[in-house]
Symmetry: C2
Amino acid sequence: MFPRETTIHDIARELNVSASTVSRALKDHPAISPKTREVIKAKAHEMGYRSNALASGLRTRKSSTLGVIVPRLNSYFMSTVLAGMEKAAVEAGYHLIIMQSFEMEEKEKENIRLLFNHRVDGLMVSTTSPASDPDYFEPFFKKNIPVIFFDRTPNNQEKYNCVTIDNKRAGYQLTRHLLKNNRKKILHVTGNKKIEVYRQRLEGYKLALHEKNLAFDPTLVWETGLGVDDGKQIAEKILKMPALPDAIFVANDTCAIAIMHHLQAQGIKIPEKIQITGFNNDPFSAFAKPALTTVNYPGEIMGKVTANSLIHLINTKHVEERPFHHILDFELLIRESTMNQA
Amino acid sequence: MFPRETTIHDIARELNVSASTVSRALKDHPAISPKTREVIKAKAHEMGYRSNALASGLRTRKSSTLGVIVPRLNSYFMSTVLAGMEKAAVEAGYHLIIMQSFEMEEKEKENIRLLFNHRVDGLMVSTTSPASDPDYFEPFFKKNIPVIFFDRTPNNQEKYNCVTIDNKRAGYQLTRHLLKNNRKKILHVTGNKKIEVYRQRLEGYKLALHEKNLAFDPTLVWETGLGVDDGKQIAEKILKMPALPDAIFVANDTCAIAIMHHLQAQGIKIPEKIQITGFNNDPFSAFAKPALTTVNYPGEIMGKVTANSLIHLINTKHVEERPFHHILDFELLIRESTMNQA
DNA sequence: TTGTATGCGTTATCAG
DNA sequence: CTGATAACGCATACAA
């Protein structure tokens, strides 16, 4: 019904050359004379030729495709990461296949399997699973297909290629900021503590407390989903506390803003009564009232660095000796305009 | 260096059957006896067999891959759309290749070309280009590879498959809401007017004015990039107006909130002095102070509907008679708690 | 500089 | 129900 695709053979026939010559000419192989190369290219264009990536991939064992697995697509932070990845990937001639794990380990495994079958040339993962040893990446490791974890990494980072920020230091600085403002009872609202990013932030929080000789109180660490709805529940729970905290260190902006909103709705003065900090520098954090102190998480750069590192690994055939760990710079954004410094 | 991949031939050899039998067994072909099917599947599993999507795609002329082109990845709305698409696609056995056009027509064309070469089975596009007749989709049309536009469609929607909301009606309702609040001078801050979504919203705005016998003043329609930075500039420009508007209908939440923020910083009372409405229902719009009246744009559903429609087109071999146009429901979210109704 | 021959792994066709 | 064979479109080793 639809005319067969024009192939290099069709071009070859038209020009009375061989298919290999056409193949070579089209990819600027040096062994082809400039003249014939131009002729072939012109003809190819004229005939509306399109290279068949599938055939090419089958032959070269390369799909020119990178796989990405993220817990969820719909967060601002994640989209900036993906934006950076897409740009870097396309510039290097790769496509991006993006999949969601929806915070389910089973789904993550399935995605890994599917991307493996799809013969991606490399894989970038922000892991759902806190598992200390994700052996379901074995097929990739065995075939030496590079895998890089970004943002949410497995627990033993030294075994894997990772791109992160120093979450511990960030957590430390945020907590320190609150302590400087004479806050004594700091609630820490965080995500799944088995996940490295959240564990690190908690470590930073503890360190800052320790430095000030303040006792760490485990009942002040609340594990949640960090979503908008969680924020509302947290606020309600806070209001029921016998003694309110005087500060809250929330592990992302979304939830921080939701908490703030609901506390304010109940008449709590922010930041006078309770000071709040977030994490991620969502665009709205600067517009919250009061503006939210947060950590600028360089999403686009993280995406770019991850993708470029992956492509580098793909291109360097020889096995890298040991995994690398890129730690990107973050930025503490202090936004309180009129705070009493201690 | 790395052991060759196990193929159906390897399995066939081990079991003394033919490769075709293995191939059939693995995809549950009815003509294979249940017994041998199970034996083959077990062996395949044992040998760590993985189907090669490239080879399969080359043979069947199907890549099991859907292409997506969007102007930018990093907006909340777009990520919800993609989240919906990814889910629907994976459920139907497809992968998603996502590309950005960065609001550049050239980039969009290049992406179309790349995805065509990559042999995607279908294409979903939120177009960058306001061009009335995007002939660079011709390769797809010619080969009868389905293309669906979502959100941002070409101008002559009747010629293409589209999934949208009724932007005109939404714009109309928002404007009407402002008029009901006795607003007389409504500034409309919008995106590129050549783009259908923005044109439609403007049409709705005009209609509402017309209905109230208010003259349409073209100088009250400002075209911008609708980003955070644009918001600041707009605010500054507003403050320089000889007579301030008493309402602003902004074509997205991000920009609306930015404008609101900067006007408030200059002492303008919102909504008393100037009432503002947004568009998209970004999660933060509910937390803005005051909360932003907006239109709930069903991103995830849009993604799901678009992907499912595309897959349907792929599966129905016969050419559809005419393009379809799915118009999704939106929801006007009125958020002003204490407004004086006219 | 170009051509020939072969194979990448799978599936469709046809035969048995 | 199963097997043999060819073909999908391209790229490469080798030959010329």
